[in-house]
Symmetry: C2
Subunit: 327 residues, 2 copies
């Protein structure tokens, strides 16, 4: 059931089989599987998963290509709740390993916040990432286009940029490298650095060789209407026409609550085995926080894997106890 | 586009980037990703994927729980075709490795069959498995209930059997072992062997210990109506009431066309790396043919992985060629 500030306290004595941090596609899929294994679960969702911002999913088999991410999330929440799962809109501040259980400290409500502790045997880390966006004086100008034709994921949306005039907005030499795989989809590429970093000599040469333009002047604003970005105006007044954009500025990892754990990582992402288990045997990581493709369908599959492994672990432990007592 | 017997010959000169054998959830997901990477692909589908038989999917996040498997498949086909992919209803008889390409030999049409050869750089093996069913004189009696409350997958449908009187229909001692994890969901279990195998002493003892019944008399027919199986009638006339059933008789692997390849296997399933690549660098395996969970969402994710790796391979090879020529 959906927990509210009022009903919170009723659920704090219960030890959940698993608490899932994050209610995106991965967390919801994990929750659906956990409930179907007759395990008790709580999903804690801070809201606005990365897929919430996707105006059209485009590549999730089974859903029409124009399905918004928020439709999948809404459907997933209803599905999970229909199976008797607990769901709380809140922010996980800290997780403490108590040995057999985890204590999960949650802040609920931005105003008049309530602080509550929940406990579980297993933890599924599904709180994902969010992309850094260009910093503009008026951020609304960015939000107007981000998730429409101002993309954040080449794998997801390269197709949408095919043969278009694309602006790439990067904040470092390594993030700027995305222009080269983007070249698979379109030759009309302009890299915008806004003067935020010194363009390496090698990158400058390579851009020239491929015929990609480089603009280092800061951007005043994105131009366009009806959520369709049609170009940028630079601070010097120059207008550059574009048909699509790709932001490549890295991502914020929503995993501060894991600071007390020394989980194995690779380039900032959690390392997991084939069942989504991290280097801690009772912590599973799914979706964008772990090593692998940042795709909705991958996160959904990860959720199934993690839930299945947790079920197997609990079931086997349960069997051993039963076998033991029958001797 | 959808290829037909008439238009077949127009497509045989083309070398596809990838041919996908199998048009289930995995194959369609792979096709969608391939097309979105601007690669050319052909899906060859013999029809009736395993998910086609599922009356309700229950565990695929984003779709309502009562969505039939065939609805996902129909949606996936439309999605794939809308991206310009080629699709052929046919049966792959043989695949020959020509070094840089594969020759894929297809039989189209059960009557007045046409035989045609297609070629591709990569092969995605997504032709799946199909469960063996109890052999009855009147097979319609089995089809009436299979996929409704006569299940074939514990992971998928354990939840549907919770606290119900369940009949397990097995054809070997090892396949009968499924009764024990089923015990997680319900204690009311009857194992039916139909006298097809000698029940091992250890299994017999363990069944007794857990309080599960054992029936070795052959079954005359399933009883029920409106696709809801309500019990079985044995050959000796005894009627045993049931509320659900689980068939555990193994599966047929749809992969005869791979006989010429010596791909690494584990217990009949193809071994793949984390990007779904088999021990042959240009053959990818996704879904139920490979090691892992037999779940629709896993197959769909596999499709994304395989297509992405093929795109990377082709792109990098392409880049090397370009770099080479610029010297």
């Amino acid at each position: 059931m959906k927990l509210t500030k009022r009903t919170l306290a009723e659920h704090t004595d219960h030890i959940y089989d698993a608490i899932v941090v994050g209610g995106g596609a991965g967390g919801l899929s994990a929750g659906i599987y956990l409930q179907r294994y007759l395990l008790s679960s709580l999903i804690i969702d801070k809201g606005k998963a990365r897929s919430f911002w996707m105006q059209e999913l485009h590549n999730y088999v089974g859903l029409p290509a124009d399905t918004p991410g928020r439709t999948l999330l809404k459907q997933g929440r209803e599905h999970y709740l229909s199976l008797g799962g607990d769901l709380l809109d809140g922010y996980v501040e800290e997780v403490v390993d108590e040995g057999e259980t985890f204590a999960v400290h949650v802040k609920v409500g931005r105003q008049d916040s309530v602080y509550q502790k929940f406990r579980s045997k297993y933890l599924i880390v599904a709180s994902g990432i969010i992309d850094y966006l260009p910093e503009m004086e008026n951020m609304q100008n960015v939000y107007d286009y981000a998730g429409y034709n101002l993309h954040v994921c080449l794998i997801c949306d390269g197709y949408e940029m095919a043969n278009k005039k694309v602006g790439v907005f990067a904040n470092s030499n390594s993030n700027a490298e995305v222009v080269f795989p983007l070249g698979w989809f379109t030759p009309y590429i302009t890299l915008f650095t806004q003067g935020k970093f010194e363009v390496a000599f090698q990158l400058r040469q390579k851009l020239q060789k491929y015929g990609y333009k480089l603009v280092e002047t800061p951007i005043k604003q994105f131009l366009g209407k009806n959520h369709q970005m049609s170009g940028v105006e630079l601070e010097d007044g120059t207008v550059i026409e574009l048909e699509a954009g790709l932001i490549s500025m890295g991502s914020k990892y929503h995993a501060d609550y894991l600071q007390g754990f020394n989980l194995e990582k690779q380039g900032g992402n959690l390392v997991t085995d084939k069942m989504a288990c991290t280097s801690h045997p009772r912590i599973f990581a799914i979706g964008d926080l772990k090593v692998g493709l940042n795709q909705v369908v991958i996160a959904a599959a990860d959720g199934a894997l993690a839930a299945t492994q947790i079920w197997r672990d609990i079931r086997r432990r349960h069997c051993q106890v039963n076998e033991g007592s029958s001797r």
